[in-house]
Amino acid sequence: MTNSAKAGNALELTDLSVAYRVAGRNRAVLRNLSLSIGQGEAYGLVGESGCGKSTVALTVVRYLPRNGSITGGAISLDGQNVMKLDAEALRRARAESVSMVYQDPGKALNPSIRVGRQLTEIFELGGISGQAATDRAIAMLNRVRISDPVSVMQRYPHQLSGGMQQRVAIAMALANDPSMLILDEPTTGLDATVEAEVLDLIAQLRQELSASILFISHNLAVVSNMCDRVGVLYAGMLVEEGPTEVVFNDPRHPYTVALLRCLPRGGQRKDQGRLDTIPGFLPGIGADIKGCAFADRCALADNRCRNELPPLYDLGGRLSRCFHHDKAQALPRATPSDVAPAPKAAAAPVLRVAGLNKTYASHGHALRAVKDVSLDLRPGETLGLVGESGSGKTTFARLLLGLVPPDDGGTIELEGKALAPRLENRSDDQIKAMQIVFQNPDSALNRSHSIRHLIGRALKRLAGLSGKALEARLNDLVRSVRLTDRHLAVKPRQLSGGLKQRVAIARAFAGDPRIVVCDEPTSALDVSVQAAILNLLADLQSKEDVSYIFISHDLAVVRYLSDKIAVLYLGRIMELGPSEDVFSGPHHPYTEALLSAVPKLDQTETARIRLDGEIPSATNPPSGCVFHTRCPRKIGPICEQQEPPLSEAQPGHSIRCHIPYAELARLQRAVATEPA
């Protein structure tokens, strides 16, 4: 997998520097970046947002935005110097030898042109037209495993699911048999099950095609599964590079070490210790960097690191830009892992939900977003809600909060008292007892108000404070979410994503809530920031004895924080139980599929279970067990005819499946021991 045939590299960047012109100044984004990708090789580029990953992708095909310019270095694509190409040659290179697939397939496809037309257009540019182009398009769709290409050709992009759209985008990218395929976060917006499908597809295509791949992702696990070699980018510089397994198992740069430590791994849980974090921030673009770019955030840094740029040390087939590459793994933790386990009193449930339903009317059809959900939650406990998008997680959270009224019949009890279905009819005490941290802080924090106003208003309304008392509590609260006074005067847009989410957390905690709903609070954040937010939530929980309802599509994150898990599918609870039992199994076939879809860093995966197709429409759910259309363990007609009850298989652990618990255990053990 090494680049032995130097001359035949598919892509070679030599000392590439790129700057963006912002407010009249050229700000360096890529600094003397050199890397090469061999023929047929898959190269992964990882790093946090703002480190220049996407700029690399744009630069290779010279698609930089108007304010961007290449300030030095060379790009060579299949031996061709991209910098020297004239407009026509560049157009041909883009049309014939390089293809890109972006994060959001919805934006890559033209919404008002049928899929078929968009595909045949590519062939027409290559001189193939009419029936021949249609045949080629159908062949391409077959190639990306679209089972019914003729009907897909007739559809508009919005009529396809996200996974299908991304397949079509990949088909378009492959149409001209490119020699270089650039994938820029191709699965980031997709559900784990769909992501697994798309990644499988890319892996299979790699065997069929000769294309080299530049795979850009912030998700280390995805890169580790897809790529031969990986480069770690930090502040526009390559800090580490090498064969994927070697880099992830034996990192030699403190940044890589720290990044890997931020991830909850191997079933780590909040009571076993906090996650490590990376202190400080990525240098802003164009920052003046004298020594090692990571020195400010690195516990190993000494004077030399701060004043002298480390060279890329060649450590035999791998590179590390660190003076201390030999002891990088001795990087001290930035956050102590020790944690005082909170004593769990067997108190009465703080929340009890029984028979909760929500039906929307959708074009004359009843859409059952939440169906017959019952569960309870104890003080200081976290309930993790998992399931694909469209499974009803967020609707359930909104029902609890009263933002959406449930159907008649169900009950929500808070500390033994029934809650009114509508927010307006709940008392102030009930309102402040249940708050939420939204997924997107840009939407959740009013952009016109200062941070002081945002938190202060919550304290005034929820805690009933004013004047000196409010001021004092405000300072406490701000410190407890690790913000400082200087953050108070600014508006949300002047803060980074992680800081904004801290503000949202402070606001939710203003009225000493009993329950905080966390709706994907870290999904928009980088891993190092995510780790800090998860630690904060865990700390606040053990201090305040607050309960969380934690919604996330990231199962490792859910596992870290949750005591209890509810797995939702089409608005129904398919499995409910203590976190460890649900994760370690035996579990519902749906849970099993969700878990196996998660790309793992340590590559210990065994046989994978793949879910075919998409989550069915909630307006017309399948008969019997709603999961039977996709279930890999369907046992027979009973699954299509009878909806299985949610029955308690073990004390506290319920599964909605016709397969008996013991049988599930046997089947799933068989998979685990099967040779991969």
Partner: protein, 292 residues
């Protein structure tokens, strides 16, 4: 994932200017805005200080010199009773520049309130109020003005009220669509989870975020309001004699064009046109600056 728009995590080295200051600087860079603003500023100066630099009293007649063509003495000539057209054009900006902005202000205030109301409550409130507003929009301004004048008599206040209320539904529609989008954002849900009153949510939470479209709509409406005031004055429903108002002057003199006395009408018409163009250029600039 774009590296271009990284927000600095450190408030110490954040952008030096707030969003309003940014809009201001981008206005200063917009040639369209600057040209429009200069024209408007010129007429505002005329309205405020016109009588100090007008060569003659705009109301003083001089029958002997009636209908004199433009000359070095009377740059724009004189009208039927010998009043200096140049002086009248300069001072004539005063009434229109009082009435039109006040009418626009009334339209903006009423329209914003209605837009917030319909956009925030949606449902029945929206259906009922919006239908009424649409019905109102279907009636031509002139007819409303006629009715209002019959009922209230002619005065500047009537003109302001008529134009203000005629334009309010248009502004309400713009505000409503902006509010509908804002309402879906989670900060509104967060306000509900604090039991904030509807008024607080509308005016303190949502209103500051819909200011940009309101600002654009207001500047555009101002151009139309100037036109509407001139039209009403021309028809005799608007500003009343002896004001040297442009629309009124054109109305009084347009019969003279046939006699070759073009100067009695042309300069007032050019004045109206230049003010409307100035306001529209400025509105274009504001629109550009806010949508950068």
């Amino acid at each position: 994932m774009s590296a271009v728009q990284t927000t600095s995590p450190n408030p110490g080295d954040m952008r030096r200017h707030g969003p309003l200051a940014e809009v201001f600087y981008s206005l200063l860079r917009s040639r369209t805005f600057l040209v429009g603003f200069a024209i408007v500023l010129f007429w505002v100066a005329c309205a405020l200080f016109g009588e100090h630099f007008a060569p003659y009293d705009p109301l003083a007649d001089d029958i002997i010199n009636a209908l004199a063509p433009p000359s070095s003495e009377h740059w724009f000539g004189t009208d039927q009773i010998g009043r200096d057209v140049f002086s009248r054009v300069i001072v004539g900006s005063r009434d229109i520049l009082t009435v039109a902005p006040l009418a626009t202000l009334l339209a903006t205030v009423a329209g914003t309130a209605l837009g917030l109301l319909t956009g925030y409550f949606r449902g029945l409130v929206d259906d009922v109020v919006s239908r009424i507003l649409e019905a109102f929009m279907a009636i031509p301004v002139v007819i409303v003005a006629l009715l209002a004048i019959v009922a209230l008599g002619t005065s500047k206040t009537t003109v302001i009220v008529v134009i203000g209320l005629s334009f309010a539904p248009i502004i309400a529609r713009t505000v409503r669509s902006a509010v509908l989008a804002e309402r879906e954002l989670d900060y509104v849900a967060a306000a509900q989870l604090r039991h904030e009153s509807a008024l607080h949510t509308m005016f303190v939470e949502i209103l500051p975020n819909v200011i940009p479209p309101i600002l654009v709509e207001t500047t555009v409406r101002l151009g139309y309001a100037i036109f509407a005031v001139a039209t009403l004055s021309f028809m005799g429903f608007g500003i009343q004699p002896p004001s040297p108002d442009w629309g009124l002057s054109i109305s009084n003199n347009y019969g003279m064009i046939g006699g070759g006395f073009w100067w009695t009408v042309l300069f007032d018409a050019l004045a109206i046109a230049s003010l409307v163009i100035g306001v529209n250029l400025a509105a274009d600039g504001v629109h550009g600056a806010l949508n950068d």
